[in-house]
């Protein structure tokens, strides 16, 4: 079969289970396409030879009862993978080889999948365009010199370009949903506590969640089913009854109540996004859902809150990179000098900026004015959602305020870069699940996404609504393979 990489995850699983394809054939196809796609810079570390060996071994004694039998998969380089370099897109972890495996990736390998490589991302997941990576920016397969979104930019690029059938990213303020929206793919940020954070390089621990990024909703549901497990190694992992998301997936969403928050009509939102949102509402109605206007009055305060909470937690999490235990070290005249030089040379500009913001808002005399204030506003934002969910089942919004922008367009203005996450950040602050699905194109032909936000632990409902709407939308990605060598 010559069109292996064009198949969805679900198709590949079916073809391997029915022995129409072997794991070796599938793995080879994705490895070959990845090798021809270096121009995209989606990978930080490739593990092709090992992957092909693992596939061969799988085929010798295939266990076809697994959920991801012999499926090759590249993952964001924020997940620790045993014996394979894990960099978090940073110079400071350039030579770090974990001696343990993250729970989420372990769950994936336990179901038979095979690691083919580690995907590029913004440094420590801090960015919205993948331009803060020490390993260079990533190309969006949609068009040349277009950002793939961030921070899971290597992941979104790799799925859209079919270098991997599916992947995982992490989402602290939109890092799965925004890149999915920019590349015409599907990205799910699960409820906080749904997927274990064990073995994921930490950015902001009260917000970070891992989640699937896929070509379609069904694939996304299948991977969510695999990665969402209770884990005692993560003290914030939550023990709740998890659905078999892909089996319980249904397009019957008749009578579901969908909320439309008026505060998401932000100043300067483009006509195209407004139109997309209206179309989304029509699609939802066509599926039999009921549309209800709601209010989330503190929406405008979400980004300022996020830019206190996330850097504060980051400054604390990143204190561990000191050149002593692992990672890059710069020599210094004494211990303090060594710390300061290591961190100054090892971290990039955006990470240093956020550590400084975080250190400042936590420092003596400013804690109450900033950090405590932000935690209180965070409560108000969560209360808004709690109120809204008394009236509706899910909330429908655009995923981003614009389509993908050009590389370099926003790098000199941090605040304009941060505004990219205006529709996704409130969801992280409230710990809710959200999914971005491709829903249309702008005038330039770039993809645009819609976001469906659910109640806590109600991934099934947002997956169902996404599944039903996906059929109505019938989105097609315009990908020309311009980068292939």
């Amino acid at each position: 079969m010559s069109d292996i990489t064009k198949q969805s995850l679900s198709e590949l699983v079916e073809n391997i289970k029915s022995k129409k394809l072997s794991s070796s054939e599938v793995t080879k196809a994705f490895v070959e396409r990845s090798e021809k796609s270096k121009e995209l810079n989606a990978y930080i570390t490739e593990d092709y030879a090992n992957a092909l060996n693992k596939a061969k071994n799988f085929d010798k004694k295939p266990n076809l009862d697994l959920k991801l039998p012999g499926i090759p998969m590249a993952v964001k380089d924020l997940f620790c993978t045993r014996d394979l370099r894990t960099t978090a897109g940073s110079k400071i972890l350039n030579n770090f080889v974990p001696t343990y495996e993250s729970t989420v990736t372990q769950n994936i390998w336990n179901e038979g999948a095979i690691l083919i490589g580690k995907l590029n991302c913004d440094e420590f997941a801090m960015g919205s365009s993948n331009e803060t990576s020490f390993f260079g920016n990533v190309q969006n397969p949609i068009d040349q010199n277009l950002v793939p979104g961030g921070s899971s930019g290597g992941s979104s690029s790799a799925v859209a370009a079919q270098l991997t059938p599916i992947t995982i990213g992490t989402d602290t303020g939109g890092s799965i949903r925004q890149p999915a929206s920019f590349t015409g793919t599907v990205g799910l940020k699960p409820t906080y506590g749904s997927c274990s954070r064990y073995g994921i390089v930490a950015f902001a621990s009260s917000l970070d969640q891992a989640g699937p990024m896929a070509q379609n909703v069904k694939d996304c549901a299948l991977l969510q089913e695999v990665i969402s497990t209770y884990d005692e190694k993560d003290s914030t992992s939550i023990d709740f009854k998890r659905n078999e998301y892909s089996k319980e997936l249904t397009k019957d969403i008749k009578g579901k109540k969908i909320g439309i928050p008026k505060e998401y009509r932000v100043d300067g939102m483009s006509k195209e996004i407004e139109e997309l949102w209206k179309k989304g509402i029509e699609y939802a109605k066509d599926c039999g859902a009921e549309i209800i206007d709601i209010s989330l009055p503190h929406t405008n305060y979400a980004l300022p809150t996020y830019y206190i909470v996330a850097p504060a937690e980051a400054s604390s999490n990143l204190a561990r990179y000191d050149g002593v235990k692992y990672g890059f070290r710069a020599e210094g005249e004494n211990l303090i000098d060594m710390y300061e030089k290591t961190r100054s040379e090892g971290f990039g500009a955006e990470v240093q900026r956020r550590i400084m913001i975080g250190t400042y808002v936590l420092s003596s005399g400013y804690y109450d004015a900033y950090y405590l204030k932000a935690q209180k506003v965070r409560k108000l934002i969560k209360n808004d959602f709690d109120e809204a969910y008394k009236k509706v089942d899910v909330i429908l919004t655009p995923s981003t305020p614009s389509s993908a922008f050009k590389i370099g367009e926003k790098t000199n203005d941090p605040v304009s870069m941060y505004l990219n996450d205006i529709f996704t950040v409130p969801v992280n602050l409230a710990g809710l699940p959200g999914i971005s699905i491709p829903a249309g194109h702008d005038a330039k032909g770039y993809p645009l996404g819609l976001q469906i936000i659910g109640k806590a632990f109600d991934e099934q409902n947002i997956l169902n609504i996404a599944y039903a709407m996906e059929e109505k939308i019938n989105f097609k990605n315009n990908i020309t393979d311009w980068w292939l060598k």
Binding site: S344, R353, K376, L380
Partner: protein
């Protein structure tokens, strides 16, 4: 509000990140524009609001105090930048 160079130097010391003059000036500019944006929160009255520290509304689970991982010394020091069989090595601290 305005963050001056002296404050930047102070934060850089607390952050253990060395900055030269040029970098300090760039950071002051960036941080000021970011804090202008953050100041928006002061529009809200929050005197009687409980701060939200965790969205996971569960109490932490207790577990028995058992050793589960053993003999990890080699793994723990494997990625150390300065190799020594038994220790992490740092520049001399005591003269």
């Amino acid at each position: 509000m305005s963050i001056d160079l002296k404050t930047i130097k102070h934060i850089s010391k607390l952050s253990r990140i060395s900055v030269d003059e040029k970098k300090a000036e760039k950071l002051a500019g960036d941080l000021n524009s970011i804090f202008d944006f953050i100041e928006k929160l002061n529009e809200l009255k929050t005197d009687n609001v409980e701060p939200l520290t965790s969205v996971a509304e569960t109490t932490l689970k207790l577990r028995s105090d058992e050793v589960k991982s053993k003999n990890l010394r080699d793994q723990v020091i494997k990625n150390s930048p300065k190799e020594n069989e038994d220790y992490f090595v740092v520049p001399k601290v005591i003269e």
